[in-house]
Amino acid sequence: MISLSVNGKTITVKDSPDTPLLWVLRDTLGMTGTKFGCGVALCGACTVHLDGEPVRSCTTPVSAAAGKKVVTIEAMAANPVGRAVQAAWIKHDVPQCGYCQSGQIMGASALLSTNKKPSDADIDAAMSGIVCRCGTYNQIRAAIKDAAHAMAKGG
């Protein structure tokens, strides 16, 4: 039995400790917003926040999340940075197929939580681990800058 906090709720799961957090979220808890893309920390589709840090849930054993705070895409609207990022994503109509976008939004909101005015190089560093096969990168970049701008204005 492992206890962790998922989107503010304490949850106890029976999965074996080495089960990746990704599959606990998706299969055990039925929270399918977090995606599976590669399973080995190469694509970023599975990105969640663990105690505020972006992590790849596909290679994070659930035991490593015990007693910690996990935040997923499903809770982004409840967070001011997440809301700003989602609003910018909608404004720029970023998603195409949409499959990578949970990871992109989790990556972007983690970046903007610690860096209020990211440069292009900051965006590259924070986001280059998150693949988009539909090629929405320029819209992602524009939306991150827009979200930063909106937050600076207090919007």
Binding site: G37, I73, E74, A77, P95, R133
Partner: protein, 711 residues
């Protein structure tokens, strides 16, 4: 949650037709109407629903895989309906022959056909509904229909009286479907041609969008499979004792495609699958290697084959003659969402939940596998996490059906990234040998191409190689060479190394335009001419090619200075009815590393449904094509695929993303396709820029930095 989502969607058509207070427009596609007269196959069906609150729901039979079809189809209907765009939403249709793609004659999404095929029928569906709403309003007002007009979800009488579509829905449902339908002229368009926002964005920013992998059914098992590591290999024996000992593993099943482990959830299934101990017989392809494939293709291209096109005498004497051999590798699609399908074989019906591009053919194929009639196969099309042609293939739905049939349970079959990468259905490897001739003045005199490639038509299972022996997809982009070469010859040699090939974004154009647009660049260089001007002169009789070529060159500032070390390359292509030219600005490092700084594209796709989606599709295709040009290759050693995941099959990332600008030619031509045509020009635009930068001609993809290193 997914089960509820699907159940409500599945019943949508039925319930909406029965529930009062709404207007359902039964409408037949042209093909279906003909059938109706001929036989009892007429099946009226619904493309839109107007609720009494004025909300319009468009039911779309096409798969949304990022290309924006769930916005484009509603735009077509909304335009002729004169709907209020803010009141439109879209639902996925079930698989039903009524939703057949008019171009394919089956319900499927691919070949950049969606807007081309549905441009007229969907507008007619909207126009018919509008006419019935007008008739209903005129009845209520006891007015002349000619005195009524429509605007943004309202019927407006010349006196100023208004009724909303919602208020009229009930009465309109009792009107007869008009026989004569008048469509707007392009001048009257109010929604078409505007950058309307995508209808699928809101659910794609909060995790709510349901993809195939997100399906969950009560009692469902998750399956992972071990497949033969060599194409055509066979199972000799399996020891599943270790797999069965893993907690959560329920069953191990053998099917023709391999050995499956069925378990509670992905993780148990994966551990179980990885614990299988299997002996395979590698069969006839045990020695398959990429060197061997290259050799077979090169020999095929050298020998030549079936005549695809022949004008004049391509062997006519020329004062300068050049010859070059080009090669492209097998490619995986690497959709962001790995292949998967959930299938439940019930006693007398099969239900499928999958991100598929071929729900129509799936009914027949899966019905056969599961032993029910095609009409008894219910297909719930989920959002597709990328398609690119891969999700047209039946492997994942067929195997999931077999596994559900054997286990008696709903089964979600999941491919890991490694499984997906190694599951074949690759873009064919291909070699083309060109010979070109120039006269003394450097004018193009002759051009011949000998293409060697596997046949996608034969591999598809639903097409056959034509009697002339020329696979249309193997030669597309070269056979239809637009340049005014007085002597021209194209041949096709079918070479089959034994690997399952498939449609890959832009299909034959994906490699053939790299080949031909590079060779034409070589001809220009040999002639001592500017590559843009050389092409332009040969496209005098091809105004649409010439139009995009000139626009791209002009917007990119062709001929004007660039920062030190940056060079331009240009290429132009037509595919799927749309014309695209691209100029790439590229630098090559001392280490041979290629950096693409900017791409300027120009597109002529006829009338534009949504210019923003057009631009995004060109940009998306550029990224997909750049990934392939810079990194993409599937190689074989000892019969085995050498690549497995994104470390050895790299794709473009945000830090490598060029600036992209896309310009659209204003056009009154019928719409062309847009999901694919942005791709073919990018590889040659980049490699032509590399030639401008280094004097080195890239004749084999992917680009090899080793070859471009400066000593």
């Amino acid at each position: 949650m997914s089960a509820i989502y699907n159940a409500s969607r599945r019943d949508f058509l039925k319930t909406s037709a029965l529930a009062g207070g709404g207007l359902v427009i039964g409408f037949t596609l042209p093909g279906a109407a003909r059938l109706a007269q001929a036989a009892a196959m007429f099946k009226p069906n619904a493309y839109l629903r107007i609720a009494s609150d004025g909300h319009v729901t468009v039911i779309c039979g096409l798969s949304e895989m990022g290309q924006g079809v769930h916005t484009a189809i509603p735009m077509l209907i909304a335009e002729e309906l004169d709907a209020d765009w803010s009141k439109i939403s879209v639902k996925q249709a079930p698989a039903d022959p009524a939703f057949n793609n008019p171009i394919f004659g089956m319900q499927a999404t691919g070949g950049s056909t969606s807007v081309r095929g549905h441009w007229e029928p969907m507008r007619k569906a909207g126009a018919a509904a509008r006419a019935m709403l007008v008739a209903a309003a005129a009845d209520k007002w006891k007015a002349d229909q000619a005195d009524c007009r429509t605007e943004r979800g309202m019927v407006v009488h010349k006196s100023g009286k208004k009724l909303s579509y919602g208020q009229l829905a009930d009465a309109a449902a009792r009107q007869a479907v008009p026989k004569e339908i008048k469509l707007k002229s392009a001048k009257e368009f109010r929604i078409l041609g505007t950058p309307a926002k995508r209808l699928d964005t809101p659910v794609k920013v909060n995790g709510a969008a349901n993809f195939g992998l997100d399906v969950h059914l009560p009692g469902m098992l998750t399956a992972l499979m071990a497949r033969p590591p060599v194409p055509g290999g066979k199972l000799v024996s399996v020891d599943d004792s270790k797999a069965k000992a893993i907690s959560g593993v329920k069953q191990v099943v053998q099917i023709p495609g391999g050995v499956a482990v069925l378990a509670e959830g992905f993780w148990a299934a994966k551990q179980g699958r990885d614990a299988l101990e299997i002996k395979w017989d590698d069969g006839a392809n045990a020695a398959l290697s990429s060197e061997g494939v290259s050799k077979m293709l090169a020999e095929g291209a050298a020998k030549g084959g079936a005549l695809a096109r022949n004008e004049g005498d391509a062997a006519a004497p020329a004062s300068k003659r050049l010859e070059a051999v080009y090669e492209a590798p097998y490619l995986a699609h690497a959709c962001m969402e790995p292949m998967n399908a959930t299938v439940w074989v019930k006693p007398d019906e099969i239900e499928v939940w999958a991100g598929t591009q071929s729900q129509g053919p799936s009914q027949g194929i899966l019905g056969k596998v599961g032993g029910v009639a095609p009409g008894k196969v219910k297909v719930n099309t989920m959002y597709l996490g990328g398609g690119f042609g891969r999700r047209f293939a039946p492997d994942f739905t067929v195997d999931a059906t077999l596994l559900s049939k054997i286990s008696g349970k709903p089964v979600k079959l999941v491919y890991t990234r490694e499984d997906d990468m190694k599951a074949y259905f690759y873009r064919p490897a291909s070699v083309t040998r060109f010979v070109g001739g120039l006269d003394a003045g450097g004018n193009a005199l002759s051009f011949s191409a000998s293409v060697a490639s596997p046949s996608i038509m034969e591999a598809s299972g639903f097409m056959k190689l034509p009697a002339n022996g020329v696979d249309d997809m193997a030669v597309e982009g070269i056979r239809d060479c637009p340049y005014d070469f007085p002597n021209l010859r194209v041949e096709y040699a079918r070479v089959e190394p034994g690997v399952q090939v498939w449609f890959w974004r832009s299909v034959g154009h994906s490699q053939n335009l790299f080949f031909i647009e590079s060779f034409v660049d070589e001809m220009a260089a040999t002639a001592g001419k500017d590559p843009y001007e050389f092409r332009r002169a040969l496209l005098v009789k091809q105004p649409r090619y010439k139009g995009v070529l000139e626009l791209a060159a002009q917007k990119a500032g062709w001929g004007q200075p660039l920062p030190a070390g940056v060079h331009r390359g240009i290429a132009v292509a037509q595919s799927f009815g749309s014309y695209v030219a691209e100029v790439a600005e590229v630098s090559v490092g001392k280490d041979g590393k290629v950096k693409v700084h900017r791409v300027v594209g120009a597109v002529d796709c006829g009338m534009t449904v949504n210019p923003e989606i057009v631009r995004r599709q060109v940009e998306s295709a550029i990224v997909y094509g750049l990934s392939a040009a810079l990194y993409g290759k599937i190689t074989f050693k000892d019969g085995r695929v050498e690549q497995s995941n994104f470390h050895d099959y790299p794709v473009l990332r945000i830090d490598e993303m060029p600036d992209v600008e896309v310009h659209i030619v204003a056009s009154g031509e019928p719409p062309g396709g847009m999901g694919e045509p942005g791709l073919p020009p990018i590889a040659p635009a980049v490699t032509n820029a590399i030639f401008a930068a280094t004097g080195k001609r890239v004749r084999k993809l992917p680009i090899d930095p080793e070859e471009l290193k400066q000593a």
